[in-house]
Amino acid sequence: MKILVCISHVPDTTSKINFNADQTEFDTSGVQYVINPNDEFGLTRALWFKEKQGATVHVANVGGSETEPTLRKALAIGADEAIRVDQTATDGYTVAQALAPIVKEGQYDLVIAGRESIDYNGGMVPGMLAKLCGFSFVNTCIGLEIDGNTATAVREIDGGKETLKTELPLIIGGQKGLVEESDLRIPNMRGIMQARTKPLHVKTEQSAAAKSQTLRYEKPAPKQAVTLVDNAEQLINLLHNEAKVI
């Protein structure tokens, strides 16, 4: 089985979010980048398939050379090869368009992406990629088993879950549940050394025109100070008469 894991390179979850002076671009100074958490759960599941059922695992990212340390980290925890499509990721549509030829040419059976990336929260790359490649698609995937050509996937729905059956080739939008938090791997010395010599292919694809463009960003207005109360009675009174939520 050939698996491709799509990796988004995102600011660490503790990052303070700031923008440049004219509010048109994210200010990257001092920001640490990581593998998007949803993608990391997917990558870890892919490595499980590799070890338990035999699979090759490639990782791909659409971005500039600054994303390579994130791809090397994926190699260090066990991916076999990495691909970087050398393109600025503008909107989700252009990212899906850039990944589609990689998926088709690589003849992957399974593509694992994250349900959404925690920076722009688009949540559209896996579904768009599935549609562009003609693959089956399961979103918010919290469980995946593969038996031959058949996949059994569990999808989180509002208020519960559903079990789905489908055939490969398949794309999933994954999240926690594919593996548990405690299954996530930290690169060890040996992995880091090996990652240096694993292939990292840089490809150029024709870039599609973006369908959307962000004009400016805004930070939330500063919050008023909290109103401290002494007891439940006062709280109920304020929630009823002032906030009018009960």
Binding site: K176, L228, A232, I236, A243, V245
Partner: protein, 320 residues
């Protein structure tokens, strides 16, 4: 060119999020001098949708649409959008809509922006405000495609009432067989879902262990609320993953969010700060949650929560 709204129903009921979607579509339609058409896929009559602003209801009829399959719904909406020549399609932030919308967008070669938090700030080009960085910031994004798919955040606009009586017509899409088949569904029937809840009662590691969740469930029941938890609580297996809220869990956009024994880490706050009113109950006055909350009680959850339950019951009895 009209606006098409995907009006989801759940067992014949149009939830508040669907009503809100239609009112949002109506406000846009009024600005654009056009009509809003509610597309319904299930056997629920759409007649009532006029009161939320729909001018017309389009019943999409096909056997394959009797339960939700993302591919089929996307195909049906795409054909409907072309039939009525819609320039905007509005969908919700439900798990189903977020599953389906990217497929629809590719089918219609449409730009897609999710997590929209307000009406467009411009109509030429169509420019919408939406949350990014998991609610740590917002963006104004312009769409340059002929057709746009807009995903509205829950509780971002509100339900508005109209005296429109919507005329119902049917459309029969031609659908291919879905490549994904649902074999079983496991859905708690009597629990309030985080996605729909007006009030969410959430608890963290300060509760010390899973055996102490009885009072959290009771508080939620008294308030008609959904229960939620912080990430470590679900990682420890004290509560199911489906209750994990925050940047890497579910987003919460409730009217009222009550955080009990939760410190207020940046990742937790990111996911819940779209909620309108936030309450914190924590023993530690220095807990970061107090900086994000509207109301707070510095106190021990094991004393405050039982008292709150008691006083709420009395309050409800008086106001009944």
């Amino acid at each position: 060119m009209p606006i098409l709204v995907y009006a989801e129903s759940d067992q014949g009921i149009y939830k508040k999020s669907t009503q809100e979607l239609i009112s949002f579509g109506r406000a846009m339609a009024d600005q654009m001098n056009t009509e809003v058409i509610a597309a319904v896929t299930q056997d629920a009559s759409g007649a009532e949708l006029g009161q939320y602003g729909a001018h017309k209801v389009l019943q999409l009829e096909h056997q394959a649409l009797s339960d939700f399959k993302a591919e089929n719904v996307a195909e049906a909406l795409s054909q409907a959008a072309r039939a009525v020549q819609a320039s905007v399609i509005i969908v919700s932030s439900s798990a189903n809509s977020k599953y389906m919308a990217p497929l629809l967008a590719v089918d219609l070669e449409a730009g897609y922006v999710p997590n929209i938090v307000g009406l467009p700030t411009s109509y030429t080009p169509l420019t919408v405000p939406h949350n990014v960085f998991t609610n740590k910031a917002s963006a104004h994004t312009a769409l340059n495609s002929d057709i746009s798919v807009l995903g509205l955040s829950k509780n971002a606009y509100g339900v508005h009432h109209y005296e429109t009586s919507a005329e119902i017509t049917t459309h029969n899409p031609e659908l291919s067989a879905s490549t994904v088949e649902v074999t079983s569904t496991d859905k708690a029937s009597n629990k309030v879902m985080i996605a729909d809840a007006e009030v969410v009662v959430s608890a963290g590691r300060g509760l010390k262990g899973p055996e102490n969740w009885g009072m959290i469930e009771e508080l939620a029941e008294v308030m008609g609320a959904a229960t939620a938890c912080s990430k470590p609580v679900s990682d420890l297996g004290w509560r199911p993953h489906s209750e994990h809220v925050g940047q890497t869990g579910k987003p919460v956009a409730a009217n009222l969010y009550i955080a009990i024994g939760i410190s207020g880490a940046i990742q937790h706050l990111a996911g819940i700060n779209s909620s309108k009113v936030k309450v914190v109950i924590n023993t530690d006055p220095e807990a970061p949650f107090f900086k994000a909350a509207d109301y707070g009680i510095v106190g021990d959850a094991f004393e405050v929560v039982p008292d709150l339950i008691q006083k709420l019951k009395e309050f409800q009895a008086q106001n009944a």
